[in-house]
Symmetry: C2
Subunit: 379 residues, 2 copies
């Protein structure tokens, strides 16, 4: 980073099917929470960035940057960014660029999505806009279908069993019991996950992150210091369409973003004490851990089986409950992940990792076409 970017704090709404709240309500609540948590004045904020994918399609609201700026008395410069499910991570990256370029000293970063005011079919169709409209769209695939292709290929290639795959979602559900902001706060044993209704073979309902409303907000600053700083902010991309990939059991975007993030921070992989991982579908978690080198190809499931991913394991994963159990309000997820990393470093996490000093947020867009990696450290 050209200069240190501090995380001052943040806030979030509960994630869930929030019938009583509009997109505007969710944003207001998260922004109020972030400002209250950090004790800065609203007028200290000199730029606003919001990550949102489907405001137009599901809430009749585009132009969300200026909507958010309108919540502040002095109307600072603002913009909306979008990269499908990585919109939140992209928002943080954009905020870093504004800060590092001296165009702002304190930035309000928001992620928000309101999905449950329209029919589920419309959400499913709109989410497919994250894939290539000309190459993938006409196939009739949905996102569960796309990730089912990766799961089928992965399970065949590496001989992964259905019951082993269920360990991934079980871990997130167990963690979320203690997280008051999570959509589902119930421990679900792996056996129940294996028996849940089939969505897109081999993926079952409890392999899939849900449709969720929610918002999260963070305040980043180069002017005001805190005990937590961003050590790296990186974007990786690869071909938007699965049809243009050499492999569908690995995402180059994660490999690129992670390698560049380690380089930017000057960290080694083993320096990382906890990970918020983009478990949009159970199979995705295994792919991500292998792409980042935490396990050899085809062997990430061993981390789950051996307890390495547990709260007291060598590599704790999704101590918040992840996308699977916290819910996945598309644009909000990447911001909420970094907020959870901040909580982990400031001893406010619902499941506290002992002596966590360096943590990672991994946010994915589409079927791995975009990845953002944020590394945070306590100082």
């Amino acid at each position: 980073m050209l200069q240190p970017v501090y995380v001052l704090g943040g806030g979030q709404t509960k994630f869930g099917e929030l019938w009583d709240f509009s997109l505007a309500d969710l944003i207001r609540s998260a922004v109020d929470g972030a400002i209250a948590a950090t004790k800065i004045l609203p007028t200290d904020i000199d730029a606003v960035v919001i990550g949102n994918m489907l405001g137009g399609e599901t809430a009749e609201q585009a132009h969300l940057g200026t909507f958010c700026s309108s919540l502040l008395p002095h109307h600072p410069p603002a913009l909306r960014v979008e990269a499908a499910c990585a919109s939140g991570g992209i928002a943080i990256h954009t905020a870093c660029a504004l800060l590092e370029s001296n165009r702002a000293e304190t930035v309000l970063v928001i992620g928000a999505e309101k999905l449950t005011d329209v029919a589920g079919e419309l959400v499913t169709s709109a989410l497919m806009h994250a894939a290539d409209a000309e190459k993938d769209g006409p196939s009739g695939l949905t996102f569960p279908g796309i990730f089912a292709l990766t799961a089928t290929a992965y399970m065949h290639k590496y001989n992964l069993s259905r019951d082993d795959l269920s360990l991934v979602s079980a871990l997130s559900h167990k963690a979320a019991v203690k997280n008051p902001y999570a959509q589902f706060r119930k421990e679900i044993p792996a056996a129940s996950i294996s028996r849940s209704p089939l969505v897109a073979d081999p993926l079952r309902l409890l392999d899939c992150s849900p449709i969720t409303d929610g918002a999260a907000a963070l305040i980043l600053s180069t002017k005001h210091e805190s005990g937590v700083r961003l050590a790296a902010s990186q974007i990786g991309t690869e071909a938007l369409s699965l049809t243009d990939r050499a492999s569908i059991t690995s995402f180059t975007s994660t490999k690129t973003a992670f390698a560049n993030a380690l380089s930017e921070a000057g960290w080694k992989r083993n320096d990382i004490d906890a990970i918020e991982l983009h478990d949009c579908f159970s199979i995705a978690s295994l792919i991500h851990l292998e792409d980042m080198g935490f396990a050899p190809e085809g062997e990430a499931i061993q981390l789950y089986k051996q307890g390495d991913t547990d709260i007291d394991g060598a590599c704790p994963i999704n101590t918040s409950g992840g996308l699977k159990a916290c819910g996945h309000p598309i644009g909000a997820t990447g911001v909420k992940q970094v907020l959870d990393c901040f909580k982990q470093l400031t001893k406010q996490a619902p499941n506290q990792v002992q002596n966590a000093k360096r943590v990672l947020a991994h946010n994915l867009g589409g079927v791995g076409a975009t990845c953002t990696i944020h590394l945070l450290e306590s100082i």
Copy 2:
């Protein structure tokens, strides 16, 4: 600017009702044109930013940053930004931040929109997502209706006549005759504009910029130099909803962005040799010129009547043909404006202003809720 940002060049598609081209086709064409115009290698590009408002609603394609990155062999980091009709200007601003922060040395900036593949009513509804969904949406207003409110207020307050208002669109149509990229290349006398069909009283068809497909692309660099640099890039915002404004005949966003841009560049207003102005509706041009102080309140029409806005006048406006005659493919407009400024400074403009050294691009989002100002100078 933290360091000099050079405009290496750019390309654009023809603007119009381009039935034979998809959003993807338009983007590819503009990107190819920009790379060819600048002679850089595609692999010299280390970040991509696209401004687009309605890819999801009108072309079933979100995640456009990574779509654009997928066009390049090395898949650089990418993102989409949106701020309604100012999406293009916001894209350039974001590219500047990436460059000034040293996160990139050469950035491909794209603006694109494909509107004519869906019914006009759907486009009109989707464009209303640029207004406040809770405060403005339920009124049933469309954007021509919103600007008709400003026109009614302005004409009453300043005693502006219908025939005088028609001079604004007539100027843009006259200029576009020589612009091969313009949607409408026909001179239209003011008297015909005053008699065109009523859209939203007092605005008539020829007061309104059209529904347009198109894309434009620019390459900006801190590493590679050229004869044109950006002297300033600024965003101004104000309350998203008209109901929260002190005035509807002036846009604070323009005032803020313009004042900050002059300050950033170290220019005075009179240094500016030509302006690409966001004439989404005829009335808007008068408001913008007054907000930037080129005329006192209520008197901008005198600039048109006296010929000051002509190609050889004191303050040439929209020598490209503006939004009115070039067309207004939402996200593309702000990028195309800066491309036209670049052409003006490199003697490639369809209507060349003698000795133009310093030019301005003014891009607006919503009913003035967002404004971007870019200042370019030849060096």
